[in-house]
């Protein structure tokens, strides 16, 4: 699920950035530092949408670095248990398949794949129904439901299922 929230971060800035473009420098550094990171609490920071305010800088003893408290608005993405996501399959093996929904990695184990789908080894390992009409392989797009998440300080990993109504392949590149 996406959220638009306000976060705060202390930016350490080298003195060489001080000057006319101080503000721009802070913002660009913030974007570089923050976008694409993941915090267990808020999820993945997708993009910074605005700066709320930049506080007074504090000069660090000894180094000359200055710390600015920056409040910024950003879009974060955090997966939840029970959430339905659309994801791209990245890897298929005997144990199941891995898929990605943006920055989130999801593993669907083989017992959460419908029973009528069989694993086929080969050049392009895939799961296929007995009549061959549905095939899950690399780059397939699937709709899945998250049934478990592991949230670490810096990463989020999910397991999902496609063994439910309206879940499964939504676009098969092989047939396209």
């Amino acid at each position: 699920m996406f959220f638009h929230i306000v976060l705060e971060r202390n930016m350490q800035l080298h003195p060489r950035f001080f000057g006319r473009n101080l503000r721009e420098n802070i913002v660009s550094k913030l974007m570089k530092d923050v976008e694409g990171t993941c915090s267990g609490r808020h999820g993945f920071v997708v993009a910074i949408t605005g700066i709320e305010n930049i506080g007074k800088g504090l000069i660090r003893d000894g180094t000359g670095f200055v710390t600015f408290p920056v409040k910024y608005q950003c879009v974060v993405f955090r997966p939840f248990k029970g959430e339905i996501l659309e994801a791209v399959v990245t890897m298929v093996n005997k144990m199941g398949f891995f898929a990605e929904a943006g920055p989130v990695q999801i593993f669907v184990s083989n017992h959460l794949i419908p029973d009528d789908m069989e694993f086929q080894t080969g050049d392009m390992p895939n799961y296929t129904t007995s009549d061959g009409s549905v095939k899950i392989q690399k780059d397939s797009e699937v709709r899945l439901k998250i049934i478990g998440t592991r949230v670490d300080a810096t990463e989020i990993f999910c397991i999902g299922t496609i063994k439910d109504d309206f879940l499964g392949v939504i676009n098969d590149p092989a047939n396209a």
């Binding site: 890897m91 093996n93 005997k94 144990m95 199941g96 891995f98 990695q105 593993f107 184990s109 083989n110 017992h111 959460l112 080894t121 390992p125 049934i147 478990g148 998440t149 592991r150 990993f157 397991i159 299922t161 063994k163 439910d164």
Partner: protein, 478 residues
């Protein structure tokens, strides 16, 4: 009530009753603070009672329902809130005056003045809550509930949604699916143990391979048995409910409609059946305050309703307040130069009564004589009216400025004041606008005007104000 008697509702009622017994049998409304072992406070099954009671009535005032069921309103509310959360019923909250059933005081302008005060008192609005079963929703909710129940048990039985466990046959280390990312190997398509590089097996597979061994497995098996039993029991015990659901499936769903719509319908029906409308009801609607900020469409609907009621309400009021007939002005109100008809002074009460009810069928015999009387009264009225008009003009010239100011302020200030400031000639005119009682002596002289103001009066409580407006126009003309 008419809706209650339709046949198509019965299966739905049965559905509600079955659902109540299936799902709400052990629901207790006890607050957390109350002791659990208090036998007297044990109100298990109250939810069933309430639901049953609700099947027997459409929209019902919650306080009345509490009284009927002889339980405390708070207790009832707690149950109703539960049902509301479960989407079994719809509730409507309406601001109403405290004593809506209070009877309007009869008695011409005097009564009107009292009305004004009464309005102030009654305008302290209280929120009244009404509730009603929503059969369409109940049907869906019950089906969904059954579906969820079945699905939950089946999911657990089939180990869906469970996080897959993996075990290393070499070192016995366990992993689960959340570790998958670390376990994939680049050489083959199996997971490998981080310690010993052994190929991991999914735990269920291992279970199948192994003899059902340790206690953990036993517990799991017992759990499975239990779930199977539960599923079976559910299928058996809820069979009647499911049967009822399938029976109801193709039936048209009884639509009770919104509270306002229902009440309007109910009143119309009640009146059609009884033929004796209580003026209370009429009052309630003509008050308009009962609707407290309902959108205009509803007012539009009441218009129709009340016009219908208004015809009869004249009778109703008359018969109820026969002691104080509406048109008789109290003696202290009658001043010199007032263009009052005789019946307004209370002299020919009887005739006036007959006349007013001439529209009604029962009085058709006496209609003729009443008509004759009417003619003479009309003539008298016209004379008196012109006399008063002259008088009024004279007086108006005398104190034109002052009076105009007064009337203006009175307009803005309100009813009672304006009434006291009013001039004699005007007074009579105002009554004309007041309606209800005026029909007899108005009819001839200014047909269009009366009919118009009459309708206005009946429609809502704006009427007195509109009457005043008429007055003011007269003033300026004079």
């Amino acid at each position: 009530m008419s809706m209650n008697t339709t046949i198509s509702v019965e299966p739905f009622k049965r559905l509600v009753k079955l659902a109540a017994r299936a799902f709400y049998d052990d629901v207790s409304t006890k607050g957390e603070n109350q002791s659990k072992n208090n036998a007297r406070g044990d109100n298990k099954g109250i939810a069933v009672v309430v639901l049953d009671a609700l099947t027997r009535r459409p929209w019902v005032n919650e306080e009345a329902l509490a009284k009927d069921l002889k339980i405390h309103i708070k207790q009832l509310r707690r149950v109703l809130r539960l049902f509301e959360e479960d989407k079994l019923l719809t509730r409507a909250h309406r601001k109403e005056t405290a004593k809506i059933t209070k009877k309007p005081n009869g008695g011409g302008a005097d009564g009107q003045k009292r009305f004004g005060r009464e309005d102030d008192k009654n305008n302290k609005l209280h929120t009244h809550s009404y509730c009603c079963l929503d059969y369409a929703q109940i049907y869906d909710v019950v089906r969904y509930r059954l579906h969820r129940m079945r699905k939950m048990i089946k999911d657990e039985l089939e180990n869906n949604n469970a996080v897959q466990q993996y075990i290393c046959p070499n070192c016995g280390r366990r992993y689960n699916a959340l570790d998958a990312l670390r376990l994939i190997s680049l050489v083959d398509e199996y997971f490998h143990c981080e310690n010993c590089e052994g190929v991991l097996v999914a735990e269920s597979d291992k279970l199948a391979a192994q003899e059902g061994g340790d206690g953990d497995d036993n517990a799991r098996r017992r759990r499975r048995e239990k779930l199977k039993d539960m599923l079976q029991n559910m299928e058996v015990q809820l069979k009647p409910l499911m049967d009822q659901l399938s029976r109801v499936k193709d039936l048209p769903i009884p639509e009770i409609g919104s509270l306002q719509a229902w009440q309007l319908h109910e009143h119309a029906a009640g009146r059609a059946i009884n033929g004796d409308p209580s003026s209370d009801d009429q009052f309630k609607y003509s008050q308009g305050s009962g609707y407290g900020g309902t959108p205009m469409p509803f007012l539009g609907e009441t218009k129709v309703e009340v016009a219908f009621a208004g015809d009869e309400s004249k009778e109703g009021i008359k018969s109820e307040s026969s002691s104080a007939s509406l048109k008789v002005l109290p003696p202290w109100m009658i001043k010199q130069g007032m263009n009052l008809t005789k019946e307004q002074r209370g002299e020919v009460k009887k005739e006036s009564k007959m006349d007013s009810s001439s529209a009604a069928v029962e009085f058709s015999d006496e209609k003729k004589s009443a008509q004759e009387n009417d003619d003479s009264i009309k003539e008298e009225y016209v004379k008196a009216y012109y006399a008063a008009l002259l008088e009024q003009q004279r007086q108006a010239e005398e104190s034109a400025k002052k009076q105009q100011e007064l009337s203006q302020t009175s307009m803005s200030n309100g009813l009672s004041e304006s009434a006291s400031n009013r001039q004699v000639g005007k007074k009579a005119k105002r009554e004309e606008g007041e309606g209800d009682d005026d029909v007899e002596w108005d009819e001839a002289p200014i047909e269009g005007n009366t009919s118009e103001s009459y309708r206005l009066n009946d429609l809502n409580d704006e009427a007195p104000a509109s009457g005043e407006e008429d007055d003011d126009i007269d003033w300026e003309e004079g």
